[in-house]
């Protein structure tokens, strides 16, 4: 009886660390990073449909290897492909849009048992625009997550600046989400995300919707279906990675 009781206590109280995807969200960056010398191939596919009150549709692919430099710092070397169309479906553009480098630094121990419930992560990226040769894109995010029990809340304060010698265009890209652990490796939640243009209100959009993340062994997936709140009809995004 005592052994059975002991067994139950251990099974119920054993910590279930939340290895459920590098990000639990579709549009928000996560606060987990690779272990030192870890390597992962990561892919995103994202869409925005009927943006800006027009029929503008955009699909993008982000693909790149990630390398764990230390237990708290990882580097990514992404390339981005983009497909865009507006009112006339015959006038579409599919192009190799950007490449660059980004760093993600977790400002807390990489070990969930050592880290506090509050985990910040800083992300910076610099990318070259292939089609606009003198454009440099600078990106940044301050991501903070707070985990308690099966719940994880996250805020992602991001920005993007496209800089050329004569022009400068910037977006704020804030987002927030709440995720619930359903089982080991499986989470479900909701999130809100927006891109707020500082130059043109017409280019601002926002969406909110459900998300799902799943991890199995060396593979993880997360995705969200953003339902348009402002200047967009639907904005789905999926990410997945495989570690080596």
């Amino acid at each position: 009886m005592r052994i059975a009781l002991a067994f139950l206590v251990v099974v119920c109280c054993a910590p279930r660390l939340g290895f459920a995807g590098r990000s639990f969200y579709g549009w928000l960056y996560g606060t987990e990073v690779l272990p030192e010398r870890g390597i992962e191939l990561q892919t995103w596919i994202l869409e925005t449909n009927d943006r800006y009150g027009t029929h503008a549709k955009e699909s993008s692919i982000w693909w790149g290897p990630l390398i764990g430099v230390t237990d708290q710092l990882e580097l990514a070397l992404p390339i981005e492909l983009e497909w865009v169309t507006q009112d006339n479906p015959t006038r579409t553009l599919f192009t190799f849009r950007r490449f660059g480098i980004e760093a993600r630094y977790r400002l807390a121990s990489a070990d969930p048992a050592d880290a506090s419930r509050f985990v910040p992560l800083l992300r910076v990226a610099a990318k070259r625009d292939v089609s606009v040769r003198d454009d440099v894109r600078v990106e940044g995010d301050l991501v903070t997550s707070y985990e308690v029990g099966p719940f994880q809340a996250q805020i992602d304060l991001g920005f993007v600046s496209d800089i050329t010698p004569h022009t400068h265009h910037s977006d704020a890209r804030p987002g927030a989400g709440l995720s619930l652990r359903l089982a080991e490796g499986l989470r479900f939640g909701g999130e809100v995300y927006s891109e707020i243009s500082f130059e043109s209100r017409a280019e601002t959009w926002a969406a909110a919707g459900p998300d799902l993340s799943w991890t199995h062994g060396r593979f993880w997936f997360s995705g969200a279906v953003g339902i348009g709140l402002y200047h967009v009809k639907v904005a789905p995004r999926a990410m997945w990675g495989i570690a080596f």
């Binding site: 005592r2 052994i3 009781l5 002991a6 067994f7 206590v9 251990v10 099974v11 109280c13 054993a14 910590p15 660390l17 290895f19 690779l34 272990p35 030192e36 010398r37 870890g38 764990g68 237990d71 070990d111 969930p112 048992a113 050592d114 199995h216 062994g217 060396r218 570690a243």
Partner: protein, 224 residues
């Protein structure tokens, strides 16, 4: 795995409130039966007393990675103590654990580097290398400091045990089942117990992604 869960249960559940020293001694002998039924060496057996808690020491226990082995491959520590994992091999190792009492992944690091981990929860933690499947070690995270390693003849002597009714356990890697005895410890008295332990085969484990290892690698002798 069952043994690990059982032992974790025992060290976790029987841990009672802290008590004051001084106390008595628990001594005795552990006999080990090997898988072929013969009496084996009683070295590398940890004997510990559970039923009370004590604070940890500042000591950092070392488990080296040397010759594609963890040395030693069985250690006992007190809850909240740390274990360091220095790499002495001329190639990378990746120490990890998927045990419920402490999951961690130290990543890959080369010779000359060391990483350490704190263990805040009592239980049995099985540690492996994600690159070399033959590397395996066990860390017993215990609620108090009353744990010793047996000598070459299987003798043990645990001193400073608080007076009371406790349980003494003997644990070895590859033990087929835990062995224990109830003891009553009295101040400045010696309590003698005899424990028997049966060793089985090494359990096949998976890598940190939950997959089978691709192949067994050659085990080099220590120092090469």
């Amino acid at each position: 795995m069952k043994i690990a869960v059982f032992a974790a249960a025992v060290v976790g559940v029987l841990a009672g409130p802290g008590v004051a020293e001084p106390g008595g001694r628990v001594t005795g002998t552990v006999t080990v039966t090997e898988p072929d039924g013969k009496t084996g060496d009683a070295v590398d057996v940890i004997v510990y007393v559970v039923g009370f808690t004590e604070p940890p020491t500042a000591e950092v226990t070392t488990v080296s990675q040397k010759g594609r082995k963890f040395v030693p491959d069985l250690v006992a520590i007190t809850v909240n103590e740390r274990v360091a994992f220095p790499n002495f091999d001329p190639f990378l190792h990746n120490v990890f654990s998927q045990s419920g009492a402490r999951k961690f992944d130290l990543g890959s690091y080369p010779r000359g580097e060391s990483k350490d981990k704190q263990f805040p929860q009592a239980g049995v933690v099985d540690v492996y290398c994600n690159i070399h499947p033959e590397m395996a070690a066990t860390i017993l995270v215990l609620p108090n400091r009353r744990h010793v390693r047996t000598d070459a003849r299987g003798h043990f002597d645990i001193q400073g045990v608080p007076p009371g009714d406790w349980t003494v356990f003997a644990y070895a890697r590859r033990a087929t089942k835990p062995t224990s005895a109830k003891v009553t410890v009295k101040p400045n008295a010696e309590t003698v117990v005899a424990l028997e332990l049966a060793r089985g085969a090494e359990v096949v484990h998976l890598n940190k992604y939950g997959e089978k290892y691709h192949e067994q690698t050659t085990v080099y002798p220590n120092g090469h």
